[in-house]
Symmetry: C2
Subunit: 413 residues, 2 copies
């Protein structure tokens, strides 16, 4: 039984016309001889409508009951789409999270999938040509409904593909693939034919909103071939693959950026063992994620500690730091709410040296000062003043020749 999982996001199922397009894409795979598991999100805007409905009934809606409410969004879209399939004489049925079941933990609103009953799915696939699955939702082992958090339908789709050992998993969305960078700020941005899971993870964590990060981790873990494409076009999109499947090890695959960064500098703190822990532990226990950190060389037993947090956490961070000031001996607390992190991403960095040098030189040539640098095996991130964000992206995009990489035919998935 050849099976493909096709996921359609909210904008793909927004109304009857959109769903007709989805119907066409599903039918195409049926004609190719696949059985199809179609994973649907709520119709676009529906989840926000439900959240605002909840807030009009409660100042702080209970998370468990919020999930009961949110689950109606996908329930609505799968019922409607299945009706359309049945009208076409296609053997189909809808499946809600609890009916599969997709078992999750009890973290309402951001539950993690623990287990999927693939036997039930397989038996349902024997009887039907299309299973229309409500994405984003599951249930715990007591049958309480749960949801997987924003973008959770991506993870539903990948998890189902893994459970069914599907040929591949198509994520149909309102963009037509993964780009070398945001086309909105760099007109030279080019659609990638392939990207590795690791690169995508770096891109996603940098704010590329195309895929939920967890779905990529899942795909990597279970080796699910992901195809990100547009619902509204027959053009091939971008394939997410294992590193060994990437055609050639291009040095750099893309430039990501994150403008939602704030920088904090603690001036003249005691330079003694454990000082970092004393600063960062209270932040961590308040759920504040510290991203880049740099500590200057010590002078006279004192040092400067600079780090970044997301801008929405700035106020809370400053508050916490204020309480620590004396304990850590900070002479001053400086902050800058308007900084941006620009990242150069590519698995090719593992084998190519000199990537950092190219990046620094390109930025310098435009007079862009680098405030902090952090690197990983496949990423170099530079913090720059916010006003330079777009320029930095374009400069780096050009420096690594991302607009010029040759196109190659994507193999037929």
């Amino acid at each position: 039984m050849k099976t493909v999982v096709q996921k359609f996001g909210g904008s793909s199922v927004a109304d009857y016309e959109c769903m007709n397009r989805v119907l066409e894409q599903v039918s195409q795979r049926l004609r190719e001889g696949y059985k199809v598991v179609a994973v649907l999100s709520a119709m676009s805007g529906e989840t926000d409508r439900l959240l605002s409905l909840a807030r009009s009934f409660s100042d702080s809606p209970d998370p468990a009951e919020t999930d009961v409410l949110l689950a109606t969004g996908e329930q609505t879209s799968v019922a409607l789409f299945t009706m359309m399939l049945l009208d076409q004489g296609i053997k189909a049925r809808s499946l809600l999270g609890f009916q599969i079941p997709v078992h999750t933990d009890r973290s309402y609103g951001r539950a993690r999938i623990l287990d999927i009953d693939d036997e039930n799915l397989r038996s349902q696939l024997e009887d039907n040509d299309v299973l229309v699955v409500a994405g984003f939702q599951g249930c715990d082992f007591q049958q309480s409904l749960t949801t997987l958090g924003r973008g959770g339908s991506d993870t539903s789709a990948v998890a189902l593909a893994a459970a069914l050992d599907a040929s591949f998993c198509e994520i149909s969305t309102d963009v037509d693939g993964i780009y070398t960078t945001d086309p909105g700020i760099c007109s030279q941005a080019r659609k990638l034919q392939r990207i590795t899971y690791d690169e995508m993870l770096e891109m996603a964590s940098m704010g590329a909103k195309v895929l939920q990060i967890r779905s990529v981790e899942f795909a990597k873990k279970y080796g699910v071939t992901l195809h990100v494409r547009s619902t509204f076009s027959d053009e091939p999109g971008t394939l997410l693959v294992q590193e060994e499947e990437a055609m050639e090890s291009v040095m750099v695959s893309g430039i990501a950026y994150d403008k939602d960064q704030a920088r904090i500098t603690l001036g003249g703190v005691y330079d003694e063992p454990g000082i970092a822990a004393r600063v960062f532990e209270p932040l961590a226990s308040s759920g504040i994620v510290v991203d880049m950190i740099v500590q200057n060389p010590s002078r006279e037993g004192r040092t400067d500690l600079t780090f970044t947090v997301s801008r929405s956490n700035l106020d809370r961070t400053l508050e916490l730091i204020q309480g620590l000031k004396e304990k850590i001996g900070a002479r001053e607390v400086l902050h800058d709410p308007g900084v941006a992190k620009i990242s150069v991403i590519g698995v090719g960095m593992r084998s190519h040296s000199g990537v950092a040098a190219i990046a620094f030189k390109a930025l310098q040539a435009e007079g862009i000062n680098i405030l902090i640098i952090s690197t990983s095996e496949i990423k170099i991130s530079c913090l720059v003043e916010g006003k330079y964000a777009e320029l930095a992206v374009r400069v780096l995009h050009e420096a690594f020749g991302l607009d010029q990489t040759q196109t190659e035919p994507v193999r037929d998935t």
Copy 2:
């Protein structure tokens, strides 16, 4: 554990303000020491909205998928109401049909309850003070969602009350009880303090829309004391009880009417054994319910056969009769689309003679001609010309002194 089931219809949960009123009614029962099972309908208008949504996606929406869609209505209201309870510090959770589970047959859109897991309910009631149950919905034994048909939440509530052996079941709705007749056409109509299940069944089948008929059958079968009252008032409503619990055997409890009747007369059909079957079997197999039937004495081997069907079935009935005309020897087929059935209902008829005589005399005094009469143990129905419907109701209401019955304090339920 003293338990009460409280059912709130669509107009009772229409918005935040209405739900606040529901919250007050639930809290009142909690203060009285009850655990509460609150059965909610979809917010008013929601089921119609969902049905029209389905029709905008499919010309003939699949019944199973329609139930998946409709089930979101109650899911929404129970989630929102449970949030409100939790905000008040009341221990509560929502329960959807499949979570209890309420097992039904597979008759989508009009499923019948087969089984309720009361053990799970009882254990949930140990942990919570209020269970907020989605009415109208259940699931079959394969966990496919089903709905119970219009008014199905009444049946959900009664079935839960029976399963839990609840002290009583309150049906809170937008009317404040059961009336001796429709106050809309008879200003003398009076709210009944008590009515027996059988009388209510006769009233309901005659178009009194207050309760789903099946819920009354269920209540009768399991001896569930039903209290029909208004969500928007603290006044006692009407108690539905076993006949032996009715205070005194009043002769007549109410006057019901049904203006949705059409009369058909087959003139001069052969008067021979099996003639009725030859007429009515084809109607039955087309799903047409024949209500009143009268056959005149035979003359020269021929007779007239008169019967009524609901007006919406008139055209189809005439069509079927046309095909039978020759076979049954009918010389003519007459029909009257504008007739009305007026019924006098009361368990007291069992012990009081002369009820029919009072009715006929009262109608005759106003010059209202009776076209057909049919009687049951606790009901006398007269078919009259449609234009006399309202007058006949008022005349009979007065003839049986229904405006004058003494009020007696309803026992505190």
